[in-house]
Assembly symmetry: C2
Homo-oligomer: 251 residues x 2
């Protein structure tokens, strides 16, 4: 068996899955491991929606911008911040929950995200491949409808899961030095930025990316093509409205 | 070496650490593994602040409500949502970043939280013990001051790290059945809630907890003592103000 440190260092996101099904016993074992993750006050304010049904995947797909992993992966997991269950328990036990505010949402989101990452590592340790879908926060309102999430529940991330049918090149990462700070934040000057981003910018795939998009710099591919201000503003408004609709903005 | 699945299932939060220092090479290896975690668009919009200095820990301690782990652990890690570095890169490369909005904050928070959990699992695999501090989101404004976090950076969670000097009982978890949903969310009726919470409520430590706090039910200990509405509302307002001050509420 691989050492955990090697597993973490050697991993890559998998977007292409073989037809081999993911056994339900295995899946439940991964999720059981996930549920041992630290959780605020041991409240476990999260839920995990398991999508295996083809029709349901096709329903979800457009809300993940039709990324093919959603319909092609044997399992799609939607991790949700969930105060609904906890609130119901409180109300049944003569206790008045006060968790309809932003802090509570963020607490539950933290819970859900930490569990998601544990499940992903557990899956990779078994040889499975995973891919996170950032689209969940853009289209939370539609995912809420599709998965019938009640008030108090907000999807925060989605993971597709299956046996790998590819072994892509590992993508680059910034040097560790650029990510960590000792004692206090060391802000970046122009030289730091040049140094930290030079490897990324000089990769062949980055240059290709800039050329294909007819841009001057790799940064422009991000700001003008991949993660545009207008989209971010648009989806910010929607996400804040979702938090309100799901009962998390009473403060 | 332990199997990863066993490691995840057998873990427990560690709040008491031995005097043995955590080697910087080991720490950097853990963080390097952490940085292989999935990140939105490979932007790596997070930073990790490493606190080892005793004076700095004492400065941070009150903002974590003087939980003793902060001063007693050899290492304190503050995981931050960070668009500052990415924005600087964009600006230096003739690209106009549009990441001063709520969606961008949440994207960066997801990045930071997934990395945090990978680092924790990597640490536990080496025999280290960890504890998450939920206080980070309550006192983000004070932590920002103490760690000199610039605009575009918000601390989202803190982890204390060290060699265990205790082996506490494993705490309870809700049955997996209560956390997972197949295809669509199955909302909980009174019977479900009774069934899912009965083990937790009937534990000796839970009963003791109810008695000590002079409450009728365990749920009341949460709503009236541990996670009160007034506190949640208060810290929600502060956290939203922090997002505004750090430049993430322009949508």
């Amino acid at each position: 068996m691989a050492k955990i440190s090697d597993l973490l260092l050697e991993r890559r996101t998998i977007r292409k899955y073989s037809g081999k099904p993911v056994d339900d016993v295995l899946l439940r074992d991964l999720l059981k491991g996930g549920c041992r993750t630290s959780t605020t006050g041991n409240m476990q304010v999260y839920s995990i929606i398991i999508t295996r049904d083809g029709a349901k995947k096709r329903e979800l797909a457009p809300f993940h911008f039709n990324q093919k992993m959603v319909t092609e992966a044997p399992v799609v997991l939607t991790f949700c911040a969930d105060f609904n269950r906890f609130n119901k328990w409180c109300k049944e036990r003569n206790a008045e929950p006060g968790y309809d505010n932003f802090l509570s949402f963020f607490t539950a989101a933290i819970d859900a995200l930490l569990v998601a990452q544990t499940v992903c590592i557990a899956a990779e340790a078994k040889g499975l491949g995973i891919c996170y879908l950032g689209t969940t926060t853009y289209m939370a309102h539609k995912i809420i409808e599709t998965l019938k999430l009640p008030k108090g529940v907000v999807p925060v991330t989605t993971v597709t899961l299956g046996w790998p049918d590819e072994k892509p090149e590992q993508v680059d990462r910034l040097p560790l030095e650029s990510i960590i700070h000792y004692e206090v934040y060391q802000d970046y000057n122009d030289m730091d930025i040049n140094m930290y981003y030079s490897e990324k910018e000089n990769r062949e795939d980055s240059r290709q990316f800039v050329k294909e998009n007819s841009k001057e710099t790799l940064a422009q591919v991000f700001t003008d093509v991949r993660y545009k201000k207008d989209d971010s503003v648009h989806f910010s408004k929607i996400l804040l409205q979702v938090l309100k609709d799901q009962g998390f903005m009473n403060q």
